[in-house]
């Protein structure tokens, strides 16, 4: 039987505010345990939550960026459950009326465009952490410690519709979402520190069936690779289960990256009754049209708009434009470099930013902001390709030299110093060709007998004689001429 995979994602995005969502203690990562928890975060008697407007502002930014409705009035609710790292034993979240409603994310899977609708995005607070390993109590006994530094960190939970049909789509969606929240500056995107983590709802159904299959939720996937593998595993598991005559049970599962499998955490039957009700400590969140407009005015150009502009104004392909707009700094680098080139050369800049530059950054594990080659320097190099001074191949050598800081990273200085200027003088090229033809009569014969390969071999010989500096186009032209 042919199966259709159905995936929806819930993404917890940690918002980039200085202080927590309901208290004024710091959200900085990595401080000693419990040094960033005040009376609100510790849920001391008499403490009360006060909403951080910065978190709301970021939620509005996100909502506008995905074309969602910003609720003029949304409600904070208490989600009640007991857990030691949840200090109040309820989480303040939004339940019935979230701040962001609807919207969509458009992304590419390969070069196919896909749009996934969002259900909602709501504000909530994070819990603290339980420290189970290597933790001893006051009397040296094995114990569990609680670190409340993370408690109260603002989260925007972004919920998609179940509209993804493969692990690859889910990853592409998550990458695009990640790119967007970092682009907006509302999240630092650091997945290792848990700033961006996904829960995947996965189900399968026979192709053509209208109803959804029973879904399982895989919790806390904090890398794109884990997201992809967890979904792949889960899909296999569900299909095998059904094909063997079993049924999928609705449950929450955890992905074990060491064993590359998902494991049951709890079934729907033992799920908590969260006893949601509006938090009486927080009045409804009222967002006036003026606030929304103020945020809209300050929004940067969004990836989708930039992508469209790269295609229409600069003539890039949809794929290249999408790649370049995955990251705001990346797009800015490209634009700065392309601005130095003459019209019609944007494609050259795109190729280099996505090719040579990306490869070098990946190899050295550098962020683009810390690239040793600046957009201006890259633009200088690309101009030399465009005007035929050097070949693309030579340019790679120059780029490598620029990367290591040679001659202050100046392309012209490196070309000069290394003598890489291309020979474009027809006379000089003609002389070299004459020598090669004289030295290789056998190959010339082959060519005349109709072997195209022989021509390439002759070009190679000429290039070799020119130590690679001959302009290949000129070599081609003159050689053809001479061979008549």
């Amino acid at each position: 039987m042919e199966w259709e995979i159905v995936i929806g994602l819930e993404t917890h995005t940690q918002l980039s505010t200085e202080s927590k969502i309901f208290s004024n203690s710091s959200t900085r990562y990595g401080a000693p345990a419990n040094t960033q928890a005040n009376e609100v975060d510790m849920a001391l008697p008499g403490s009360l939550p006060v909403l951080n407007r910065g978190a709301v502002e970021r939620a509005i930014q996100f909502g506008l960026a995905v074309g969602a409705d910003i609720a003029p009035r949304s409600v904070f609710a208490r989600k009640n459950y007991f857990y030691p790292d949840l200090p109040k034993n309820y989480q303040i979240s939004q339940f019935e009326i979230p701040v962001v409603q609807g919207g969509s994310i458009t992304f590419y899977v390969g070069d196919e465009e896909k749009t996934v609708n969002l259900t909602r995005a709501h504000l909530e607070e994070d819990a603290g952490k339980s420290l189970h390993e290597n933790f001893t109590g006051p009397h040296g006994e094995s114990s569990t410690g609680i670190d409340l530094n993370r408690a109260g960190t603002p989260l925007l939970e972004i919920v998609s519709e179940p509209e993804m049909r493969s692990a690859a789509e889910a990853v592409a969606y998550a990458r695009t979402l990640h790119g967007l929240v970092v682009w907006l500056g509302i999240c630092d995107g650091n997945m290792q520190e848990g700033s961006f983590r996904c829960d995947a709802n996965v189900s399968v159904r026979p192709k053509g069936q209208a109803e959804f299959g029973t879904r399982c939720e895989i919790k806390n996937l904090n890398s794109f690779r884990f997201l992809e593998r967890a979904i792949q595993y889960e899909v296999r598991r569900q299909i095998e289960l059904i094909e063997d005559g079993g049924t999928v049970r609705q449950e929450t599962r955890l992905y074990d990256s060491d064993r590359d499998e998902t494991r049951s955490m709890r079934s729907k039957e033992d799920a908590d009754d969260y006893r949601y009700f509006p938090d009486p400590d927080l009045p409804p969140l009222v967002i006036g049209a003026d606030w929304v407009e103020r945020v809209r005015d300050q929004l940067p150009e969004l990836p989708a708009a930039k992508r469209a502009r790269f295609q229409s104004e600069l003539g890039l392909t949809g794929y290249d434009a999408a790649q370049l707009t995955m990251d705001r700094s990346f797009a800015a680098f490209f634009e700065d470099a392309a601005a130095l080139l003459s019209a019609g050369q944007a494609k050259l800049a795109a190729n280099w930013v996505l090719g040579e530059l990306s490869a070098a950054l990946n190899r050295d594990e550098q962020a683009i902001q810390a690239s040793p080659v600046t957009p201006q320097q890259l633009g200088g190099l690309l101009n030399r390709i465009a005007d035929g001074t050097i070949s693309n191949k030579m340019a790679r050598e120059v780029f490598a030299a620029m990367w290591s800081g040679e001659s202050g990273g100046d392309a012209d200085a490196i070309i000069e110093a290394r003598g890489l200027k291309q020979i474009s003088d027809s006379g000089a090229i003609g002389a070299m060709i004459d020598e090669v033809l004289a030295a290789n009569p056998a190959i010339v014969e082959e060519y005349r007998a109709g072997k195209q390969k022989a021509f390439n071999s002759l070009v190679g010989q000429v290039m070799k004689a020119a130590k690679g500096k001959a302009n290949p186009q000129h070599v081609n032209e003159v050689l053809k001429e001479k061979l008549g």
Partner: protein, 510 residues
């Protein structure tokens, strides 16, 4: 050791303040004599925590402030706080074993505002555990006793506050009112108490019970003395998101209540011999139902007649949802409480059981041991009504009733009356232990106070008489005003107290 503390020689806060400023008495002398009496009257069990050094230190600061000419409106005035206000100096227990010995790292806003105004605190007052109860019998540290008769309850939950004021241990005290916890004990102890409009006094630092209902208020001997405290306590607090920045366009800040009071008083004075001329008193028929005892009915009737003598007119009104306010309140308050009290799990602070198996076992045992029966009962009720499948039938329904109760009052204030008056309680104080086998009997006795709580309206209790019999016990009159009219309410009560002396009656020492 004198029988009575020095401050009782003065007619009220204004007189005491004048004496302090004139140097006739020092804050330290006042504090010392009040401490002595508080300790001598330990049989009342009004206080849970006394720390003479902390109190005398505040008194020394008060004397210094007077000497330096920078005294505040309450400098040197001896007060005390209900033990649901967190205090840095004294322990805060909310009268629960759960919080025995708990030391707060910060002061409640009400506490710091009163301290900033110069008041000297004698310590922390007994109450029902987590403010749940109406007899102060639910205290983990034993019941407080009514100064009018040792065998009867002082009311609750602010029973220690009412007992301390009635016995003259302090000039005034703070209380909190969720469903009547200031007004009811004030009535049963023969003192004055006011619950201001919800949102005017900060809840920051109040141990939460029912967050949408909880409101702090002062208890004192007279309306004038309540004004002195309330005017300082009221004000916007950025640490409480339900605190109001403005009340009908007037900044919510000290001075607001006083100016409303002064304005009303001037109007009354201009009326000459009938100062309350034009004042329409709404008397809800539902407040005079079959449950009302004849003693209380008679005292309230006499008070209403006194108001008529002062020029006011009586208007019969109807608050048809009065009866429904009991079930509505006993769904909403426990629902909020069940969630508010879930933080007491023995993990970070508070009582933790000695022996336990797993984590869930530790949490349940700690809570079962730390909470008393009434608190446990309300947590169970609250948990139940919020459960999936019951939420709509109970919680949501109760919220609808709450809106209807609110509308009933708004209808009355819109075109029938300026103030609502009636009884506070159906009967006078009961004997300690009377309702022990029938825990919900007390709930029904809250019928007259719950309406103003659900509607968030300012409401007050002032003494208006005594029961008949061998042991006369105090009776309170309730005054309910429209939103933000606590100044007007106090002025109306003050007018009544100028022509009556119920508020000046003092219990003999038993």
């Amino acid at each position: 050791m004198s029988d009575m503390p020095i401050h009782n020689e003065f007619d009220g806060i204004a007189a005491l303040r004048a004496a302090l400023l004139a140097g006739q008495v020092s804050a330290v002398e006042l504090a010392q004599s009040a401490l002595n009496t508080a300790q001598a009257r330990s049989e009342l069990n009004a206080f849970l925590h006394i720390d003479p050094e902390l109190t005398l230190n505040q008194a020394r600061h008060a004397d210094q402030a007077i000497a330096d000419g920078r005294s505040g409106p309450l400098t040197g005035i001896p007060i005390a706080h209900k033990d649901v206000f967190v205090t840095r100096g004294w322990p805060t227990t909310a009268a629960s074993k759960m919080l025995a010995g708990y030391a707060s790292p910060f002061d409640a806003t009400v506490v710091s505002r009163l301290e900033a105004a110069g008041a000297v605190s004698l310590g922390k007052l007994n109450c029902d555990e987590f403010a749940m109860g109406s007899g102060n019998e639910n205290s983990a540290f034993g019941p407080a006793h009514n100064p009018w008769s040792r065998d009867v309850v002082p009311g609750g939950s602010s029973g220690g506050s009412a007992a301390a004021v009635a016995a003259g241990l302090v000039m005034a005290a703070t209380g909190t009112d969720t469903g009547g916890s200031v007004r009811q004990p004030a009535a049963l102890c023969g003192v004055s108490g006011i619950k201001p409009t919800y949102g005017t006094v900060s809840r920051f630092g109040m141990v939460a019970f029912g967050s949408s209902l909880d409101q702090a208020g002062p208890m004192a001997r007279s309306a004038k003395d309540m004004l002195e405290l309330l005017d300082v306590m009221t004000g916007f607090d950025e640490r409480d998101s339900t605190s109001l920045e403005a009340c009908d366009g007037v900044a919510n800040a000290p001075g607001r209540v006083r100016s409303d009071f002064d304005h009303a008083r001037q109007q009354f004075e201009a009326n000459g011999a009938t100062p309350l001329q034009g004042l329409r008193i709404g008397v809800p028929t539902e407040y005079f139902n079959e449950g009302l005892s004849s003693d209380v009915a008679a005292a309230v009737e006499a008070a209403l007649q006194a108001f008529e003598t002062l020029g006011a007119v009586r208007v019969a009104i109807s608050l048809p949802r009065t009866q429904l306010s009991i079930p509505a309140y006993y769904v909403i308050a426990p629902a909020e409480a069940s969630s508010n009290l879930s933080r007491y799990d023995g993990v970070r602070y508070g009582h933790r059981t000695q022996t336990y198996g797993d984590l869930a076992d530790m949490t349940s045992r700690s809570r079962a041991e730390g909470f008393g029966p009434e608190v446990r009962r309300r947590i169970l009720v609250g948990t139940y009504v919020l459960c999936h499948g019951y939420y709509d039938a109970y919680y949501l329904q109760a919220q609808k009733v709450r809106r209807m109760v609110t509308n009933d009052f708004q209808h009355a204030f819109a075109d029938q009356c300026d103030v609502v008056m009636g009884p506070v309680t159906p009967t006078v104080a009961k004997r300690i232990g009377d309702n022990r086998d029938d825990p919900t009997a007390d709930w029904l006795a809250d019928i007259y106070t719950l309406g103003a709580s659900l509607a968030g309206l300012p409401a007050m209790s002032i003494p208006c008489g005594f029961s008949q019999g061998d042991t006369p016990l105090p009776i309170g009159l309730q005054l309910i005003g429209n939103y933000f009219r606590e100044g007007q309410l106090l002025a109306i009560a003050d007018r009544y107290q100028q022509v009556t002396d119920w508020h000046q009656r003092k219990p003999e020492q038993h």
